[in-house]
């Protein structure tokens, strides 16, 4: 079979914009693995791809929206969640997924994230966490571990990183999980769950960044980093996200939060129904206040 035919034979081919492949990500980058798990989840659920919207921010993972064969949008830095909120509320029939990076979602976009979680907007947020700003050459970000070397922390990072699952849970997300790019099956299951759940779901995906963060901090090749994921990951479902830390010796993964809470859209529609019921039969009043 020719190369292009082979690409069409790939079981997940229909989810990719073939003409834009191969993608721009580095050898061993976790972004491709994340996308693959995402596609496998879509495949399992047999979602209507015409009703799926993928929104991404700026960063390496931000290019993901360009590769997914659905309606997609590549926003400005940090604004993917606000944009996704607009999309979902304007057309509640759409399934809206935000795929973005740790810097985009939690530094510049931090405010939008916490409010979307607080409101429980029905969007799914998948965060590729590679502990730095990879696209711009490896600057530190809100998840960079203490003492790490990055180009803007040449003497070691003196800032404490976020615990993203704790932040998401505290802000009100209804489904919070963390996996590494090694645990592809569990990641796929989490994505499936998130896609079927009403409210803001957050999945943190710990990802290697072989060319930049891992190289600067002497963590070895992509395989070394993935093998290390296997060694230090500990699955603790239902664990208190505040304690689910990422340290030098341990990455606590699992599904931490899985609760039910009505989404903003649902509450808005219920309120609208009540308002319209009251108005039925009467003319709208032109009220001053």
């Amino acid at each position: 079979m020719t190369e292009s035919n082979l690409m069409l034979e790939h079981p997940l081919a229909k989810y990719l914009r073939q003409e834009r492949m191969p993608h721009i990500w580095c050898e061993g980058c976790g972004n491709g693995v994340l996308l693959c798990s995402f596609f496998e989840a879509l495949d399992e659920l047999k979602l209507d791809l015409d009703k799926l919207v993928v929104v991404s921010g700026i960063g390496c993972i931000g290019r993901a929206a360009g590769y997914v064969n659905v309606d997609s949008f590549h926003t400005t830095h940090g604004r993917a969640i606000a944009f996704a909120t607009g999309v979902k509320l304007a057309n509640p029939d759409l399934k809206v997924v935000v795929i973005s990076g740790d810097g985009d979602l939690f530094a510049i976009g931090g405010n939008h994230f916490i409010h979307a979680a607080r409101r429980n907007v029905d969007i799914k947020v998948i965060c590729a966490n590679n502990f730095n700003y990879g696209m711009t050459g490896g600057q530190y970000g809100p998840t960079t571990p203490l003492d790490s070397w990055t180009t803007t922390t040449p003497y070691g990072n003196i800032e404490h990183p976020f615990n993203l699952v704790h932040l998401a849970a505290a802000s009100g997300a209804v489904y919070v999980a963390r996996w590494t790019t090694l645990q592809v099956r569990r990641l796929r299951n989490s994505i499936e769950k998130a896609l079927q759940k009403e409210g803001l779901s957050f999945i943190e995906v710990i990802s290697p960044c072989p060319e930049i963060y891992d190289r600067y901090n002497k963590l070895g090749t992509a395989i070394d980093v993935m093998k290390r994921f296997k060694l230090v990951s500990e699955v603790r479902h239902g664990y208190d996200p505040a304690k689910a830390e990422i340290t030098k010796d341990q990455i606590i993964v699992g599904e931490f939060i899985d609760i039910e809470k009505p989404s903003y859209g649902r509450l808005f529609r219920e309120m609208t129904a009540k308002v319209q019921k009251k108005l039925k039969g009467g003319k709208a009043k032109c009220e001053r206040k």
Partner: protein, 385 residues
């Protein structure tokens, strides 16, 4: 029919400018408002919060103005006519995403009820200090459309016009009112819905596999598919080709895209621009004004005529694209131009640029009080000497 009645409040009303603007948006078909409270535009948000559930629209108060503009771009791409309302400081915050709306050609309406600036300034006082920001606020080369109402009725009418222009040209359109127009109360006549002319975005005529989201039609504007219609397109703020694929290296694509985004407004300026000309045929002194100032200017011009001064008024309804040819033509016929503005010289620069050798005088006024007709007449007398 119930819903339609509720959307268009046909009849004669006594309303403030902010309220009229909100009702105008609703009459234009706006069904998504994303905003943030800011004096003096808060009343628009409050009205929308009350009215949107009545008519099946969506109101969301975002966490900041940046979230607001991002959300309305999303809503626009999901198929809704979307709007936000803010003032100077919020308008500044929105600039980056205005650039995104321009780049992704999202139809949007942004209402800016201008106040005293810069920075926090005088929140409850009028100003006309965002005229240049509307055009130049975001980075890069781009064109937008901006309209300036000068009455509460125009707040209603021009908001509808803003939506029509946004949908026609797939561009963010700004309504630049000032706090006085926003907060004053006047009579507004709202026509029956069948008398309101509405324009909606061109939809693609080709099947999804042939659709190129940024391939322009005859008037340089691409037909717009929306999310969920099966077109599966990609839109990005990066420089892109007609298919929407990022083209971050190509000189040809950058040139083509930037020029088309600007040309679609510049080349259609003739169809977009609206002004009001009063007694300009034989005028020796022309007053070029907009917004609240134009009301005093109209009174001044009429009074001046009684005194024997051959005065005329050009009231700018369209601020951007600036009516260059029109102003240049007037400049050739008159001896002097007066530009009264509630700022320290913004649109006067455009007039000067276009008027070339004709002397242009700025009558600047800052703070609460708009220009008095007497001040404008005095300026005319001085200029004519």
């Amino acid at each position: 029919m119930e819903k339609k009645n509720r959307a268009v409040l046909t009849g004669t009303h006594f309303m403030s400018g902010d309220l009229a603007c909100a009702e105008g948006a609703i009459a234009a078909g706006c069904r998504f408002f994303g905003g943030y409270p800011i004096t003096p535009a808060t009343e628009i948000a409050e009205r929308m919060a009350r009215r949107m559930p009545e008519i099946g629209g969506v109101y969301i108060q975002m966490e900041d103005e940046i979230g607001s503009i991002a959300a309305i771009i999303g809503a626009s791409y999901a198929g809704k006519k979307a709007m936000t309302a803010t003032s100077g400081p919020g308008f500044s915050l929105m600039q980056e995403n205005i650039g995104l709306a321009v780049m992704t050609e999202a139809p949007l309406v942004i209402v800016d009820i201008m106040r005293g600036g810069p920075s926090t300034g005088q929140p409850t006082m009028p100003g006309q200090q965002d005229m240049m920001q509307a055009k130049w606020g975001s980075h890069g080369d781009y064109e937008i459309i901006a309209l300036a109402p000068s009455s509460v009725q125009e707040m209603f009418d021009l908001t509808i016009e803003c939506f029509n222009l946004a949908e026609t040209y797939r561009v963010p359109v700004m309504l630049l009112a000032d706090e006085i127009i926003g907060h004053m109360w006047e009579r507004v006549k709202i026509p029956p819905p069948e008398e309101i002319v509405l324009v909606s975005r061109k939809k693609p005529k080709v099947p999804p596999n042939e659709y190129h989201p940024f391939k322009p039609d005859g008037n340089l504007v691409p037909p717009m598919a929306c999310f969920g219609e099966g077109y599966r397109f990609h839109a990005t703020g990066l420089t892109h080709d007609e298919k929407g694929a990022p083209k971050t290296v190509s000189i040809e694509e950058q040139t083509k895209l930037v020029k088309r985004l600007c040309d679609k407004i510049r080349k259609n300026a003739g169809k977009i621009i609206k002004v009001e000309e009063v007694m300009l045929e034989d005028a020796e002194v022309a007053v070029i004004a907009y917004g609240i100032t134009s009301r005093a200017a109209l009174s001044a011009v009429r009074k001046a005529r009684k005194e024997g001064i051959k005065a005329g008024l050009l009231r700018l309804i369209t601020i951007w694209p600036f009516p260059e040819e029109l102003v240049a033509g007037i400049a050739k016929k008159v001896n002097v131009i007066i530009v009264p503005e509630m700022n320290y010289g913004q649109l006067v620069r455009e007039v000067e640029r276009v008027a070339k050798t004709t002397p242009v005088f700025l009558l600047s006024k800052l703070g609460e009080e708009p220009h008095r007709p007497s001040e404008i007449i005095e300026a005319m007398r001085r200029a004519l000497k």
